[in-house]
Amino acid sequence: MDPEPLVIVEKLKKYFPVKKGLVFQKQSGFVKAVDEVSFEICRGETLGLVGESGCGKTTVGRTMLGLYPITEGKVVIEKLDIAKADRNKLHRLRQKAQMIFQDPYASLNPRWTVSAIISEPIWVHHLAHSEKEKIERVQELMKLVGLSPRLINRFPHEFSGGQRQRIGIARALASQPEFIVCDEPISALDVSIQAQVVNLLEELQDQFQLTYLFIAHDLSMVRHICDRVAVMYLGTLVESADRDELYENPLHPYTKALLSAVPIPDPKKDRMRHRIILQGDVPSPISPPSGCRFHTRCPMEKPHCGELVPVFKEAAPRHWVACHEIT
């Protein structure tokens, strides 16, 4: 393992206030979107962050890049502490750390040409010295992500979903980042296009030694692309381990259920498989269950699970889990 991780997240908390009333708004509580999440990402590594919708995985990604103010805890990217950084330092950080968004239809300005979209980071971070250099750089980036440079003056609506996602990737690469948060970059795309975009992300990682935080709910794709995987449930991490260790030897009952629910494209194998079907829905993050947050749906629930919060501990080498039943 690298002695110095590129990204360190320590006991990160992000609470959103909930307000009541139309005119005289009163704060009535918090949505505890992220509650004491800690992890590290080494240089050149891809960490997968998985969980169901509403578990807080996107909030983790956004908070890490300073898009939401941190409620509590620490995020350090390239030795820079985000919580303590001023405007200038944040500006520098955003050159080093970029984001690819989920929805390629909503994340590109429809009134801007591709050239304007991709060149904005170049301009903001003063990475080109002349107009000509800037355009050359944009064309180079377009080639890199597999778009024809002839399309430089087109608008986003003239592209398909997969092509738009490529524009989003080119924009993220424009500032020459080292760390990219990929927030469900493929879930809005068709199956045959997903593989194209995933392969592109991998090629770029090899070429530029990029570090990824790959947020997704598609567990098969995460197994394919990530080196290490962390599983979130209702704002907390329940398990994290190296890829094959997690998929072959899951410890937490939630991870087990999640993995058994993923359909396998092989009818014979699928029929042989034992499915763990969880009962009920994810509880509300405004008043999460006491103790272990999973105890209301857990098949292994014991009386003390509702009282004590389980510690996130190393159960096997490099395999961390938060469950009372695992020692």
Binding site: H224, P263, P265, D281
Partner: protein, 333 residues
């Protein structure tokens, strides 16, 4: 199979006339579904899988949509020739549909009790109280806890998975012979998806109903289907029993799709094989094989003649000029 199919669709052509021209959404497809069978229809967005089912249900908005050609034989009736009143007797009662998005396909200003009993009162001679009792037992059946108390709740008081259960309860209200499920789990998380798939399979066994399951997810198909139709750009390109399709895919598109799927149960061995390019625009009248521009096997004939479905083994049909095992053009064409 010797049984008479429950629904037999022949040469269905559906087009939409829009200001930019004509959208060739479905280009002459034929399929059937037998009683008690689960047929999966797989394809990417815009391949015509939903449009073909909406055509069968008589739910294509006209204009802009028109069913240009084809017939849909149900029992001894052609659904496309029925008057609206006759179709209303079948739709919802004998053929029911579950839609993709449980957030938008329920009426937000009516209680779910009202929405479930509507179909019952419409199709049966039944009192309001009896309909309510039936609605309660339906909600029980689809696994909604405390059904009696939840009947007067509005859709926004339910979660996504629960709403999809309500939709299924509504569809099953009149004990249909055929349930058409249009991507019923796409908007849901995997754990909830597993719940819904299990529920539909269990209800299907109880009621011996046929199911057409529309999806883009080849993983879900493996777990539920008896038979699969693969669609591309308004054509059925391959049709097979589920085991045959996964073991021995014959169409380059099906092979490409299966190759581009990562597996949760395997260690990573290689990069994903992606299919180059993207699906064709439906605004252009297709000439030749619709998959040709993305196909690694394409030959001259693919450019000019659209391949018809041909049988490769029993029950396995493929629309391709090439035998992909040898890479050669099939003889006799």
């Amino acid at each position: 199979m010797t049984k008479q199919p429950l629904l037999d669709v022949k040469n269905l052509v559906t087009e939409f006339i829009i200001p930019e021209g004509i959208v060739y959404a479905v280009n002459g497809i034929s399929f059937n579904v037998n009683p008690g069978e689960t047929l999966a229809v797989v394809g990417e967005s815009g391949c015509g899988k939903s449009v073909s089912m909406l055509s069968v249900m008589g739910l294509i908005p006209t204009p802009p949509g028109i069913i240009v050609d084809g017939e849909a034989i149900y029992g001894n009736k052609n659904l496309f020739k029925l008057a609206e009143e006759e179709m209303e007797q079948i739709r919802g009662k004998e053929i029911a549909m579950v839609f993709q998005d449980p957030m938008t396909s329920l009426n937000p200003v009516l209680t779910i009790g009202k929405q479930i009993t509507e179909a019952l009162i419409c199709h049966f001679d039944i009192t309001k109280n009896d309909a309510r009792d039936r609605a309660i037992s339906l909600l029980d059946m689809v696994g909604i806890p405390e059904a009696r108390n939840r009947l007067d709740d509005y859709p926004h008081q339910f979660s996504g998975g629960m709403r999809q259960r309500v939709m299924i309860a509504m569809a099953l209200a009149c004990d249909p012979h055929l349930l058409i499920a249009d991507e019923p789990t796409t908007a849901l998380d995997v754990t909830i998806q597993a719940q819904i798939v299990e529920l539909v399979l269990q209800l299907k066994r109880q009621k011996d109903m046929a199911v057409i399951w529309i999806t883009h997810d080849l993983g879900v198909v493996a777990g539920i289907a008896d038979r699969v139709n693969v669609m591309y750009a308004g054509y059925i390109v391959e049709e097979a029993l589920v085991d045959d399709l996964y073991e021995d895919p014959r169409h380059p598109y099906t092979c490409g799709l299966l190759g581009s799927l990562p597996r949760v149960d395997h260690r990573r061995e290689r990069k994903l094989c992606s299919i180059p390019g993207s699906p064709p625009s439906l605004l252009v009248k297709p000439v030749g094989c619709p998959f040709r521009p993305r196909c690694q096997y394409s030959k001259e004939i693919c450019q000019f003649e659209t391949p018809k479905l041909r049988e490769t083994s029993r029950g396995h049909h493929v629309a391709c000029w090439i035998d992909i095992q040898s890479g050669e053009q099939i003889s006799g064409s």
